[in-house]
Symmetry: C2
Subunit: 155 residues, 2 copies
DNA sequence: TCACAACAGTTGAGATGTCAACTAATATTT
DNA sequence: AAATATTAGTTGACATCTCAACTGTTGTGA
């Protein structure tokens, strides 16, 4: 009985164009899927990690609307995400002085500790995953995936 | 005010390794996001389209377990998906002769018509998205993304 | 100023995904 | 054959996402 490996694609293709597109799609799916195990112990998911990273590295205070725009997700999604993270003690909603519509989202001290720890682990993990690539290959992957994004923005 | 384009990444990076990884990740996110508009009119999402394609191109009858394995998603997810697709009149659960635990999932005639139509539109869309790529670039994208999948399977 | 547009965030319904615990049927082992 | 393990599918709790409709606040133009 043949057991398929995750790095082989689950389809056969008529065209290289199709295979290339699905190869990127499928890699994204698997990255997302596997990232769960990495983030699970402290953050519920990658979404919460991403929010922590945005807050950590932002120069100015971050509103829920900022998060929505940076992550390209609907504002309504941020509400629940921030609710759960607040409940989990990672972040806090602060009232904004001159705009009663907004909140500034800031890390709690618990949140700070976690994201500082994870930031290091994350960078190590990334380097390990990518260790087989050459500098030239990095650049090529960046170039080709950007080209793909442009391709379907135009299509 | 600078408005970011979707094909630029929403972060700056310290390393090319990190940038390359996120470029693939982000391309996957955007592909998934945009695919919604493409599939919406007839199928709820890409997940339902994928199931229809698997059924269409499979040589042997497909069970829910097969779908779970092919799509690398939990079996419990398939239950709801098949429920909704059955309710939408796209597919049907058929009892299996010698195994009362399983169902064979088959297209209804409505489902067949839709997937046949969409299959063509889909192939055209793919060709359009990828039209700027050369044959060499297809191969390189396939090679590099596969290398990435192997990289994090090993990491 | 006052009407109206734009903006920030929330709510509710529904789709997709995870995991753990479950039922019922089938396969295996002793 | 009886006990046990495995398999197929379901259920329920929860996270993430979408969209549309909503509240309340702020900004703007007649």
């Amino acid at each position: 009985m043949v057991k398929r490996n995750d790095f082989d694609l689950p389809l056969r293709f008529n065209s290289k164009a199709h295979e290339a597109l699905i190869s990127v799609w499928w890699t994204g799916v698997l990255l997302k899927k596997e990232s769960r195990y990495f983030f699970k112990p402290d953050f519920a998911t990658d979404a919460q990690f991403n929010i922590m990273m945005i807050i950590k590295y932002s120069n100015s205070p971050v509103t829920q609307n900022d998060l929505s725009e940076r992550l390209l997700v609907d504002k309504s999604n941020i509400t629940g995400l921030v609710d759960r993270m607040e409940k989990g003690g990672l972040i806090q909603r602060n009232k904004v002085e001159n705009d009663r519509r907004s909140y500034h989202i800031i890390c709690t001290s618990k949140g700070k500790k976690l994201i500082d720890k994870f930031d290091v682990l994350y960078e190590k993990k990334v380097q390990k995953i990518m260790s087989a690539f050459s500098e030239k290959e990095y650049k090529e992957l960046i170039r080709l995936t950007k080209k793909l994004r442009i391709g379907f923005a135009d299509s």
